[in-house]
Structures are given as C-alpha cells and as structure tokens.
C-alpha cells in the first residue's frame, strides 16, 4: 500500500475533520504548560508575560514535595510487584497448557474493565471490613491490582515472540530450570520487563480514583493536585506541576515503547 497514490488535497473534508479532531484532543492539554508560564493568576487570555515564578513556588512547596515522594514510593513498589507477577503469569500462559487457562486470562483482565469508581468503593468496603488502616500501602495494593494485567499483557506479547525451543536448548545443554531463566528467558524478556516497569510505574503515578478512596493521611501527587484546586491562588502552581507531570509521563511512555519495540526486532525464524 502506498499513501503517495492518494491525493490528500482532494479529500478536504477528511483533512478538516482530522485537524479539528487533533485540536480538540491536544489543545486543552497544551493550555496547561502555556498558562504555567503566564505571569498572572487568572487563566484567561490575553497572556500577561513570561515567568518561571510558579515553578519556583512549586519547588518550594513542601507538601507538594511530600506528595511527589509518596507517589514515587508507591509507583516504584507497584511497578516492581506487578511486573514480577506479570512475568510469572505470562510465562505460565505462554509456556504451559493448563485447565482453565482461558477463563483465568479473562479474570485477569477484569480489573481493567471494572469502572475505577466501582473498584474503589468495593476495595474501600473490603479494607474497612477487614480492619486495615488506610495508608500508602492500601493505595499501592489497589494499584497492583490494576497494573498486573497490564504487565501480564506486555510480557505475554514479549514471551510469545521468542521460541520455546531456546529454553529447551538451554535445559539440553545442562542448565536447570532456574539457571535457564536467568541465562535465556530473562535477557530475552528484558526489553519487555523494562517496558512493563515503566508503564506500570506511570499507571500508578497518574492514578487518581483508587487513591482517592483508599488514601489515609498521606496524599499522592494526583490527590495533592485535587486538594489544591480549591484555592484559586494556587492554581498556577498546580498548572506548573501538571506541565511537569505531562512531560515526564509522555517521555516515559515513549521511551518504554521504544525499548519494547527494539527488543522485539530481529530473531529470524528458521527459513522454511
């Protein structure tokens, strides 16, 4: 298929639609960084001048730093736990045939389609009835629940891409199951593991609704932003923070996708 054969100019309706769509999609998001550099407290045109003072204020806000640190702690733990679970689950799904395999995969996906607010209420009720105190740990546990299916799918697509004979060859050449994992499976799955760590980190780092239901005294960054929206004077600082999170998130996701694709590339199958 070759796009150059179509005349783009001839299809002006489609082009107009595409442009409007993209504006609708991205311009609101771009207002965030735009107004974060605006020297004025109100979010309105015309812009008043360039400033970095909101960023300075952001860096000096201790409660913001505490929230950032909380988010990093939770997201790091979540990414490691859910990726580990994801690797193990993906290995089971790709290397073995077992009774109930399809239903198990279906149940694993379910947290992804249950609405966050329902999941949040359900978890809150459960945590309360068991008598666990709300804290960063409960937030982390909830995030593991939604990040694990994600990690599992990243790892399944990675493990399906390489030949099961490689693990058998390693066993054949004298390695045990465990050393085979470290000498063959792990290095070959590494791009997938890195991608999964990054994506699940972001999944937890950006998550709001479960954290909202399950937080104790300590807030994560999205909760902090939510709490700050009540104070109009602090809005520009929130915008600065939002802009930083936006750049950070996009960078990580693009990088994770790059790592994942790079790893998938050359493993020529035997020529037949």
């Amino acid at each position: 298929m070759s796009f150059s054969r179509f005349k783009w100019t001839g299809d002006s309706n489609l082009a107009t639609y595409a442009v409007i769509y993209l504006i609708f999609l991205y311009v609101p998001v771009l207002f965030l960084p735009l107004f974060s550099f605006n020297d004025g407290i109100y979010i309105a045109f015309p812009l008043k001048g360039f400033t970095l003072k909101w960023y300075e204020a952001m860096i000096e806000t201790e409660s913001m730093q505490a929230a950032l640190w909380n988010s990093i702690k939770v997201a790091t733990a979540v990414s490691i736990i859910s990726t580990t679970l994801g690797v193990l689950a993906a290995r089971a799904f790709t290397r073995y045939r077992f009774v109930g395999q399809r239903p198990a995969l279906g149940l694993l996906v379910l947290p992804l389609v249950v609405p966050g607010i329902i999941l949040g209420i359900a978890l809150l009720i459960m945590v309360n009835s068991v008598g666990i105190e709300l804290s960063l740990v409960t937030i982390g546990a909830a995030h593991v629940l939604i990040a694990t299916p994600f990690a599992t799918f990243v790892m399944i697509s990675r493990l399906e891409g390489f030949d099961a004979n490689l693990e058998e060859a390693s066993r054949d050449l004298g390695e045990s199951g465990w050393t085979t994992f470290w000498r063959v499976t792990f290095p070959l799955a590494l791009p997938g593991i890195v991608a999964s760590l990054l994506l699940t980190f972001i999944e937890s780092f950006d998550e709001f609704i479960l954290a909202f239901f399950l937080s104790g005294n300590e807030a994560t960054l999205p909760l902090y932003i939510w709490s700050q929206l009540r104070f109009p004077k602090k809005l520009p600082v929130v915008l600065a923070l939002g802009a930083c999170i936006l750049v950070f998130t996009v960078t990580i996701v693009v990088f994770a996708e790059w790592v994942r694709r790079r790893g998938v590339s050359p493993a020529p199958k035997s020529e037949k």
């Binding site: 390489f162 030949d163 004979n165 490689l166 058998e168 060859a169 390693s170 066993r171 054949d172 050449l173 004298g174 390695e175 045990s176 000498r183 063959v184 290095p187 070959l188 050359p266 493993a267 020529p268 199958k269 035997s270 020529e271 037949k272």
Partner: protein, 370 residues
C-alpha cells in the same frame, strides 16, 4: 566392568509409550541402537518419531517403558542430567549471544578455565568448519551456518548420543544434499551415536546405518537401508520407501525355494521366497515389484520367466530415465515402470496404446503377506 566393543544395545528403548489424551503418539516402542551408529527414525508426520526423540532428550515423559543409555537408566532424568544433546529443528540458536558464546553455553558447568573453554570452542568451530566466524552475532548467520553452530554447541559437550530433529528440513535443496554427505562424515569423525528424525526417505537411506520405520506410534521395521528397500516386511513399509507395484494372488505351491503365485487373470508368477516362511498353498499373498526392476519389451519372455501383458497408457521422458505406466487386466492400478536411458534410445520405441510385455527376474521381487 568388562570393556564392551560397540555394544549393540548402547541405547536401549524398552516398551516405551506416550499418550496425549486418547492419542497414542508412541505405542510400545522397543529399539536397540548400537554405539557409534547413525540411526534414523523415519515416518510420515504424526507417526510419533519426534515424540520418541523428545522422550530420549528428556523433553517428554513417557507414560510407560524405560530408556537406558550406556547401561544407565535415564527414563525419568531431566534433560540437563542426560549425557545426550539435541540439535533442534529450527536450531534454537540463542539470539542474544554470539557464535562463541552459543557454543560455550553448556561448558560453563564443567568448571573449566577460560583458556580451556576457548580451546574447546576453537576445536568445535573447526569440527563444523566455522573457523573465523566465532564473533558473528546469532542474527548474522545463514541457515547452513546456524545448523553448524547448533551441531558445534551440542558436540562440544561430547555427549554419548546426539539427537537431531529433522536436521536438514530448514535448509534449501542444494545445501540439503551437500549436508547429507557432511553430516555422515562428521558422525564418522566424532564417533558419537547419532539418532535423527526425518520424514524424507532419501535422507534416511543416504545417511543412516539403520532405519526404524514408524507408523501410528509403532515401529514397523528396523533395518539397513538396503534391506528396507529390497526386503520390506509389509505392504505399508514397501509403499512408503520408494514406490512399488503390487500384484495380488494366492500361493499355488513351491518350485524349490521359489513360490508359485496364482495371480488370477495375470497368470502364474514365480517369486523367490526370501528369508520368511514359505506360504501354505491357498494363502493370499501380494507380490511387490519396484518400477526399476521391470523391463518393458515387445515380445513375451522366453523360457518361462515372469511376464505380464498390458497396454501402455502413459509415457514420460525424464532425461536420465523414462517412466511408463502399463495397465494390465486384473490389476487395479497401472503398473509403473522406470527404465534407465543407459544407451541413446528413442523412447518413442513405444507410444501410448501399444501392447507391451513387462518381464522381471523372480529374485528382484518381494513376497508380502496380504
């Protein structure tokens, strides 16, 4: 322990079965394979040959039976505890390692010094004629080179038995024919028992010392290539190895060690009995005749030799030989005849529709029980 010279049961497979659900992939197989033997498991796809190979490698657990190699019971040993190495069908070269690292992969466990490992890898590279390619990445290799790396990686561990799963099927045709010769030479040089799986009869006939023919999970015949071709034990084996014409009849008596067969409308035919028991008069039998053992001519044979009359239905000129199909009254399929063009001949000696005679030497045919 007494020193045994090339024991005949170096690899001893006893009554091995493997079921996948209701499917008997391997059904009560017993085989003895001698030391230094080049042994082929031959059969159509789905006959259980690969499953049997994987049982030998430790990748499948048999449901019953035992496997001994060099006197040691390996039936339940995992792959990493067997003195056996495998060359996989797609070669399974580790893509994240270069050629040297691939070959050295299994040596790590032997506690050798770096220098010793280097020497062993160099030797292995030389054995498979890959000198100078040690630093290539796994993805920079051609199909033939990948096969050599897989061989070197297995042979460097000096296994007692090397298993090869369809070793040539991933190569293109020219390379495949060259590698038949090379694999055979390699086996002689390293002096290791090779067991390979193939569905290609030519591959098995040209490389193996002995061949086990498998159908439906069972071994039907174990023999040298010559015996398998000239003396198949059943119609099934005869039809699988090369091609063969079959004539049905009834045993009608003996003339010395030659059986007289009453082939109905075709007439009375003489077949040498071979090593089996002579059939009793009246037993239904099948005569098997290879296409190249038949001679086509215009006149009936002299002095009572075997001959049948038929009509030439098709003739194909194939360069080094001609292929004729002759339909004979009372025989279901046209009889196929291959004749070498050993002298300059116009194959238009005969054309379609001609009446011809087919003759053969009774020693060149095979009596099969129906």
């Amino acid at each position: 322990m007494a020193i045994k010279e090339n024991p005949k049961d170096f690899v001893s497979i006893r009554d091995v079965s493997k079921h996948f659900g209701a499917v008997r992939a391997v059904d009560g197989v017993s085989l003895d394979i001698a030391q230094n033997e080049f042994f082929a498991l031959l059969g159509p796809s789905g006959c259980g040959k690969t499953t049997l190979l994987r049982i030998l490698g430790g990748f499948e657990a048999s449901n019953s039976g035992s496997v001994h190699i060099d006197g040691t019971n390996l039936t339940i040993e995992p792959p990493n505890h067997r003195p056996v190495n495998m060359v996989f069908q797609n070669y399974a070269i580790f893509p994240h390692l270069d050629v040297r690292q691939n070959i050295a992969y299994g040596l790590r466990r032997e506690g050798l010094s770096k220098a010793d490992i280097g020497r062993r890898v160099d030797d292995a590279l030389a054995t498979v004629k890959l000198e100078g390619l040690g630093d290539r990445g796994a993805n920079q290799l051609s199909g033939g080179q990948r096969q050599r790396v897989a061989l070197a990686r297995a042979l460097v561990l000096q296994p007692k038995v090397l298993l090869l799963d369809e070793p040539l099927s991933a190569l293109d045709k020219n390379l495949r024919e060259q590698m038949r010769v090379e694999l055979r030479a390699l086996q002689q040089k390293v002096g290791i028992t090779f067991i390979f799986v193939t569905h290609d009869q030519e591959e098995a006939l040209s490389m193996a010392d002995r061949i086990a023919v498998m159908f439906d999970g069972k071994v039907r015949q174990v023999d040298t290539p010559e015996h398998l071709y000239e003396r198949p034990v059943s119609r099934e084996v005869a039809a699988f190895i090369g091609s063969m014409n079959f004539l049905e009849g009834k045993a009608a008596g003996m003339e010395g060690d030659t059986v007289v067969v009453d082939a109905g409308p075709v007439g009375k035919l003489l077949v040498s009995c071979g090593e089996g028991d002579a059939p009793s008069t009246g037993d239904p039998v099948t005569i098997g005749i290879r296409p190249e053992k038949l001679t086509i001519r215009n006149a009936p044979p002299e002095n009572g030799a075997n001959g049948v009359r038929g009509v030439l239905t098709a003739a194909a000129y194939l360069g080094e030989r001609n292929h004729f199909f002759v339909s004979v009254d009372g025989v279901k399929d046209p009889i196929s005849v291959a004749s070498q063009n050993s002298r300059p001949v116009d194959y238009k000696d005969w054309s379609e529709g001609d009446e011809v005679w087919l003759t053969w030497d009774s020693a060149g045919t095979r009596l099969l029980r129906s």
